[in-house]
Subunit: 287 residues, 2 copies
């Protein structure tokens, strides 16, 4: 297989960045892999696991020779990370990211790019609870969706190379506009996080007499609140950078939840059955 | 071990009734087990699996000799079931049930009882997706909670026997008042069902452009909506018979969800972090 990039630099060698490094290496699609990190300890894990050939905490060092820059750092720090690397990057570098919000990323990064550079923003819809290079897994993206969101500074060549890289990692690649991505994910992902967090928060200290109500929950309560255990740091970025689309998703949910409440209050079991079974059908269609 | 009851009659030999029959038999705590059912096919499964010694669709036949009657039928049909058996029951029968709402059951059944009869309402907090005698499992209650809700017509002797039966099935037994049970379960169980059903119903036909948003959900959406696949028939009964407590639980959730929405809209990340982490802490405490 022909190499796609002689050198790539992964900024943030955590679960996602590290897994992509492992998958790219296994597919023999990249030459040298450089890892830019904040903590020495995590970088050492990445080196020890053979993910990266060179570890650095210096953006200039990380930038030199990078044909592809993968921004796998928190969304709100992507701009500063790229800015620090910029003077030292090859003139025709391709920039990509793995953030779960896309219009914001495109808006922040595009103005930084020099003329011959390309930006191909992307979102691998994958993850697991563990974090850090120690949790990275070459199979993390196998069978998962990766959404590429081409924008004004994407070139056909850069898009094609990035799609090939993700396909080699086992992902199903598809393209959509950044804004479309954000509106879809607000509904399919960000909304569920807030619904789950709100249920967990509502029950956190809720007592009936002396008894904590949540102590009497069974597996159903556990499933419905599972997402509430997610990390605040990751979600803060999503709430800040996709606020408008999330607002629309919350209003959609608020209306349907309100309908449930009103029909239960009114004892209208006929209308409630229709609504309940609309949800039942949707859930049975999900994998 | 001394037998607790020479004969028990289980009305509704489905997942819960059938599992109790299997557990009681294994513990050798009951003599003859009679099963009252609606469909011949399910009763035949129960006989074939050795759950019951005698199968019948006739309430009078089922009533004769029953020292314990276990109502494992839908909550709203318990009264009619007991009413049909009443003329044929021994004078000092003990009546119990396995419904997931308790004040309503006590209110419906107590007026029917003859002087020497006792009622000990109970709720085994256990279940799985499958239904019917074929899904019954002697270990279904192992390590699960069974809540006994003593009321005016409960006698210490009847309570003690029933608790012994449930303990022999491996359950952790505890007592509380029927109303307390309903208020707790409205928050710990019924609320999660509605939260999950509302999310699934809201997303059922939600499109962004031509794309169905739910198609882009990952495992988090699957977890949060898992309960939405539950059977309407079972939940209709809960919604009808525990309406008031559910209303209070829905208002509790509505307030917290509204807080999330308002803080995201306002971009108040400091207050949102507190709320988010309240949910995170609750979820990490759950098993």
């Amino acid at each position: 297989m022909v190499q796609l990039f002689h050198q790539i630099t992964i900024c943030g060698v955590g679960l996602i960045g590290g897994s992509l490094a492992l998958a790219a290496r296994r597919a023999k699609l990249v030459g040298r892999i450089v890892g830019l990190g904040r903590t020495q300890a995590n970088l050492e894990v990445a080196v020890a696991r053979g993910m990266i050939d060179h570890a650095t905490r210096d953006p200039a060092d990380a930038a030199r020779g990078a044909e592809l820059v993968v921004l796998a750092v928190p969304i709100v720090t992507m701009r500063a990370t790229l800015d620090a690397m910029l003077p030292h990057l090859p003139a025709n570098s391709v920039i990509t990211d793995v953030g779960s919000v896309k219009a914001w990323v495109v808006r922040e990064l595009e103005p930084l790019l020099r003329d011959q550079m390309a930006l191909v923003a992307a979102h691998p819809v994958a993850g697991k609870e563990a974090t850090g290079a120690g949790a990275a897994d070459a199979d993390l993206f196998k069978g998962r969706r990766v959404i590429i969101t081409p924008s004004a500074k994407s070139t056909p060549g850069a898009i094609a190379k990035l799609e090939e890289l993700w396909r080699a990692a086992g992902a199903h690649v598809e393209r959509m506009a950044p804004q479309e991505h954000d509106e879809i994910l607000a509904r399919a992902s960000h909304l569920a996080q807030i619904v789950a967090s709100a249920l967990a928060a509502a029950l956190a200290d809720e007592r009936v007499g002396a008894k904590l109500a949540a102590d009497f929950g069974a597996s159903g309560l556990g499933d419905t609140t599972r997402l509430a255990a997610s990390s605040w740091e990751m979600w803060r970025d999503v709430f800040v950078t996709n606020r408008e689309a999330i607002g629309a998703a919350l209003r959609l949910y608020g209306r349907t939840f309100g309908e449930f409440a009103q029909l239960i209050e009114a004892g209208d079991m006929q209308a409630l059955e229709v609504l309940f079974n609309r949800g039942r059908k949707m859930r049975k269609r999900l994998k």
